[in-house]
Amino acid sequence: MKFWVVRLVSLAVAFGFAFGADAWIAGSMPSAYRLAVLAGLFVTLAVSLNLINGITGQFSIGHAAFYMVGAYTTGFVSNQFYAQQPLGQPMWLIAMALLGAAASAVAGLVVGLPSLRLRGDYLAIVTLGFGEILRIVTQNISQIGGSYGMNVKPFGGPVQTLWVVLLLAFLCVSICRNLLKTAHGLPFVAVRDDEVASSAMGVRVSSVKVTAFVIGSAFAGAAGAMLAHAETFISPDMFRMDVSFIILTMVVLGGTGSITGSVVAAVVLFGIPEYLRTLQDPITKLPLAVPGQALLGSLVAVGLTVWGLREVSRRVHGNVQNRAVAYGGTLLGGAVVAWLFSVVFGLIPQIAALKFDVNMLRMVIFALTLIVLMLLRPQGIFGHHEFSWRWLGGLLGRRPREATA
């Protein structure tokens, strides 16, 4: 009974969020539709890779390939049927998501099977190679556009796409969550921890690995299908190796194995560069530029703050208030250091003459964020933890109930 209440509340919150996002975007900045769609796709990609990489422990870095298989398959099929328009817009999108999922699931099976004998780095190399082979083959098939890419005739407008994308992300999160909630998820984690011991306990290691690959790549394929229909243009360049690496970074940064972590890291890592891109000077409405002394000053401050935070986490223990004061003090100190150094650097005319465009610096800031986060939390933002209503209840002051067996 309580179980169903929690489920319904989760579902209601998810729908509320989707409606809210839809309304907010429609009201304030319609141009953000595309960003919302892409963020949803990255959430799906990160969570699905987390199933393969984090939960089952199979180090795969070819996730962009599954993304691409979904995109190209559905793009091609959509173009074939565009003249007839056999289904309405939302239904067609859902059908395409299913088709993309099926196509990528087959690809996942193809990679999964020969990879059964490989572990760790060796598997990583095979998946990487698989991704590159698929991309280069696609680049050389002129029927699907070759390296020029392919136009996909859109069935749905951005609104419908956003809804289907959010649905997809929600489905992906719930499936992974359900897996971990039931005893069926334990063999996946067991395979990650110790293959020999799991097989001795009767776990069919091969079928667990292949299952993880198939489910994970199916979601990546569905995400690819949505990408093709949201962007209405796909090219092999959109599925390069670095896409795989970004998705992998999201998984690791969020906390390997943590679904919540993957979701949060996907939104944050996708959001940072996009947010910096839109920053404007409030007066001139030009892209925001920072003076040289401010940039150098904050770099010094970031370094010192990271060092300070690490020292605090090592030395300060005890109650929440003490720690909050220590962390807050360090951050405040960081801000003061940034100000002091920017004043000092401002005295040097060569530095003061420099101007840096934040848009240009966005990948630098992105990379710095990664480094800082990994230094401060090597286990990832969420570590092995997950979001739960009970946890939220505890945070809001209600005493959490004793965990039941």
Binding site: F3, R7, S174, I175, N178, L179, K181, T182, A183, H184, G185, L186, P187, V189, A190, R192, D193, D194, V196, A197, S198, S199, A200, M201, G202, V203, R204, V205, T211, I215, G257, H384, A403, A405
Partner: protein
């Protein structure tokens, strides 16, 4: 007459030129408490690996209830009813003690994966049942207080007991214990002796164990096989083994025999 559970007949495995286990032959009857001893490198663990399917025997046969199991994959052998613990503990380190045991019990799951992915009631009921059953096993092994502790955070002796609990969760007919008392103090060893007896008597299992501690083996096992350099050098009840000149030679060297 007691029924033969496991029968090794000339079981042999060769790694290149090295014959790690050479023509080992012994039978285990239902309810036996059987010891497998020998000096370091005698091939005891290799023998376990043969029985549990980690290695495929080069020659000879391994029969479980009269059916050949030599060379079957480990998971199949576990399903048939043979489960083991490991010499160097191999727990699932990121799982809690209880979850470790549930992995063992999961062998008997009936609901298909998709019901779990959809979070349907049958899968949830089954999860609950498996957890409750595993909890009872933890109680038997005196680990109930640690049910929600990460297995890697448990002290050494408890990790050993947890490995036994996990193996028992698969409800094997034959349980293989690889040096269960290694690293335990005398008090813990005594405890373990009574636990192993309890497992055999209350859970209707046959036990085959490897152990270096002679007092432990002699006090517990009813029959013993001694291996040396992969060959079986003695076979019999503890008293006969204790006085067997070949065994003394293998352990202490020729001058003492």
């Amino acid at each position: 007459m007691s029924q033969t559970v496991l029968a090794l007949q000339d079981a042999t495995i060769q790694f290149g030129g090295l014959v790690a286990v050479n023509k080992v032959t012994f039978d285990l009857n239902k309810g036996d408490l059987f010891g497998l001893i020998g000096p370091n490198g005698a091939g005891k663990t290799t023998c376990f690996n043969l029985i549990t399917g980690v290695y495929k025997p080069t020659h000879g046969s391994i029969k479980f209830h009269g059916q050949e199991i030599g060379g079957l994959p480990p998971a199949k052998i576990a399903t048939r009813g043979i489960c083991r613990t490991f010499q160097n503990i191999r727990l699932f380190s990121s799982l809690s003690a209880l979850e470790n045991v549930v992995v063992g019990a999961f062998l008997r799951h009936r609901t298909p994966l998709w019901t779990a992915l959809a979070c349907l009631p049958p899968a949830l009921r089954e999860t609950k049942a498996l957890r409750e059953e595993s909890m009872r096993l933890l109680e038997v092994m005196d680990l109930a207080d640690e049910a929600h502790t990460r297995s890697s955070d448990l002290p050494y002796g408890k990790q050993r007991r947890l490995e036994i609990a996990r193996a028992m969760a698969t409800r094997p007919e034959l349980i293989l214990l690889d040096e269960p008392a290694a690293g335990m103090n005398p008090l813990e060893k005594e405890d373990l002796q009574s636990t192993v007896k309890k497992i055999r008597d209350n859970f209707d299992m046959t036990v085959l164990l490897i152990e270096h501690d002679m007092r432990f083996v002699m006090g517990l096992c009813e029959r013993i096989v001694v291996l040396d350099h992969g060959e079986e050098i003695a076979h019999g009840p503890p008293d006969a083994i204790r006085n067997d000149p070949k065994v003394i030679e293998a352990y202490l060297g020729e001058a003492h025999s």
